[in-house]
């Protein structure tokens, strides 16, 4: 402990004997950490934003289906509208909105092309509250009511079918009697989402669709919106209790890809962190080795004056602890400053075409997650000090005799 009191000021002063080199190392460490922190914030914000945008499009935070519908979505696996118990559970305060839909696989035909699609029969007034599609119309109008037999199709689908607003398309859906029901639908609206979504979903009035395929009031799906992610598990449990015969799932289980993407976002940050770690390690080792080799005479003198090899090891390690610690502090400040500086949100609308594939919302809001500011700086500091043990060990090995013989 006594020796630490002596060595710490010595280490601090040693750091500034070559200010240029120290500053360069500080720069490497702080920029490395800053990039990790900024990237973590950005990736988190991006993941959340794209997830929210996708769920907001149609899927919502959870869905209820008849048992088996998800394995084989067809007209024989439908369910009745919610009964009183389920209605009560759906109207719980945690659920902000819900919508009952009839979603069936279909084939759409124009003069030029025939394509497989999914037709969704909707209740427009419920849909306007839960889905962003009604706001994404670029041409025409949204559906006026459940009886509206107009079709809302995607921009890209319209292009592929070579059809346009006001023209007819034919929808073919397998009806309840097993026959293929064909009906002509006027295209009344065209929406703009991402192309994969546009190619899949066609919307029409729910009652109009039920009539077409010979159904009563059966539905295939209830989508529900839960604004607070923490409340989702509880909502799922209460819905399962209210409708034990149905299949209630949250979005992570409905779309495994989205669940996996959500989980892999964090992994991306760790990959970036390991890349940065390698660079920081190289920088630190290089600086410290140089510092040690330059001071062979000095270490010999210190040893001759009575410093033990362990003291030399501690001295050099202290130097790297201070050096990397300072760099980490600067990096944290820079990371936090970046997030505060972009508090107004990052407007991605300029890149919206390029980013369409990532299904992101248009403005990203970065935020500081406290755990990021503990884990990443600590990891970098510890790993940096650990790799700097090598030069320290080299310094400790220097004997006074060797040092005197060493040519300067």
């Amino acid at each position: 402990m006594e020796s630490l009191k002596l060595l710490a000021p010595l280490a601090w002063r040693n750091l500034w004997r070559n200010p240029r080199r120290t500053v360069i190392t500080l720069f490497v460490v702080s920029v490395g950490l800053w990039s990790i922190l900024a990237m973590a914030s950005f990736i988190t914000a991006w993941g959340q934003s794209s997830r929210d945008a996708t769920l907001r499009l149609l899927f919502a935070q959870g869905q209820i289906h008849a048992e088996g519908y998800l394995d084989n979505p067809n007209i024989n696996r439908l369910m009745d509208p919610p009964d009183t118990a389920l209605l009560a559970a759906l109207n719980a305060p945690e659920i902000s909105n819900w919508a009952a839909r009839l979603e069936l696989p279909a084939v759409v035909r124009s003069e030029y092309k025939t394509l497989p699609v999914t037709v969704v029969g909707v209740l427009p007034e419920a849909e306007i509250r839960i889905s962003s599609i009604p706001q994404k119309l670029v041409e025409g109008r949204y559906l006026s009511g459940p009886e509206d037999d107009g079709a809302i199709i995607g921009l890209n689908l319209a292009k592929r079918l070579k059809t346009a607003l006001g023209r007819r398309v034919i929808l073919m859906i397998t009806a309840q009697d097993g026959w293929l029901e064909e009906r002509s639908f006027d295209v009344v609206g065209i929406y703009d989402a991402d192309t994969a979504f546009e190619d899949t979903y066609i919307f029409t009035g729910r009652a109009a669709m039920q009539t077409m395929v010979g159904l009563g009031d059966e539905i295939s799906q209830i989508a529900f919106e839960v604004p607070e992610d923490e409340a989702l598990e509880g909502v799922i449990a209460s819905l399962r209790a209210a409708a034990p015969a149905h299949d209630v799932r949250q979005w992570r289980k409905l779309s495994l890809i989205m669940g996996a993407m959500d989980a892999s976002m964090a992994a991306t940050v760790y990959v970036w962190m390991s890349v940065m770690m390698v660079m920081i390690s190289i920088g630190v080792i290089n600086t410290q080795l140089m510092a040690v080799f330059e001071r062979i005479h000095e270490f010999g003198l210190l040893r001759a004056l009575g410093l033990k090899p362990a003291h030399v090891l501690v001295l050099v390690t202290l130097e790297s602890m201070l050096l990397i610690g300072l760099g980490v502090l600067i990096g944290m400040l820079a990371g936090a400053a970046t997030v505060w500086g972009l508090a107004g949100g990052i407007d991605l609308s300029a890149f919206s075409q390029a980013l369409e594939a990532f299904k992101s919302g248009e403005v990203l809001y970065l935020e500081i997650r406290p755990m990021d500011y503990v884990i990443f700086p600590l990891a970098i500091w510890l790993l940096g000090v650990w790799v700097a043990l090598w030069p320290a060990w080299r310094a400790a090995k220097i004997s006074p005799v060797e040092a005197m013989r060493h040519a300067t």
Binding site: V107, E111, Y112, T114, T163, R168, V169, M172, R183, S184
Partner: protein, 252 residues
Amino acid sequence: MPSLTRRHLMMISAAAVLLPSVAMAQDPGAILRAAFDNWRATSSHVIAEMTIRSSTGTRSLTMESWTEGSDKALVRFIAPARDAGNATLQSGRRTYVFNPRLNQVIQLPASAMSQSWMGSDFSYSDLTKTEQLVNDYTHTLLETRRQSGHVVYVIESVPKRGKPIVWGKQIVHVRADFVLLRQEFYDQSGNLVRTMVTDRVRTMGGRPYPTELTMSSVATPGQYTKIVTQSAAFDIDIPSYLFTRSNLQNPR
């Protein structure tokens, strides 16, 4: 869908009692109905050659077909060896396809109905749609003209509201003796999409019969499907087992 195209395929086999040319010349719906009845026989047995010119080259197929009434048809390819044995059965609302290499009968799903039939410019739904042109369209006689010694009616047919028809309109040329000479399919903006033309009319089975037909799409210039009838017999007795799935798979 283009019901006439199907009739054309059927007319390969088609036949019917030649209706007396009653004085209905000015009613376009009746003209089309008569033309339709003229081609359709109670039954038929036809051998025809189909030439398909596509972007990858030209190939010819010989097919033998039987029809009975308006809802039963069997087409079996007999040459070349590569395609021989392939068969399509239409029975009521169902369409089955037999592939000898797989030794499998497949009932065509809805999504496949608009796929190309044997690589030709016809689709499976062209084969199955029957009297749609006559019943689901509103007809207007545009013009009555003389053409190489015959009176020809030019009829515009527009789909009735709500009918599941993609076309904006069809323009059909029918000769006064109820032979269809030309059928044009237009999209809903009025652009021509595809055309079927009768290249040659001969007397076959005791009636004027379009023995050479060419179907082509505007989008693929230079490509076409041509059907040449080689022999035809009409109003014959056809055993009922012919239009069954078991006969499709194991022809007697």
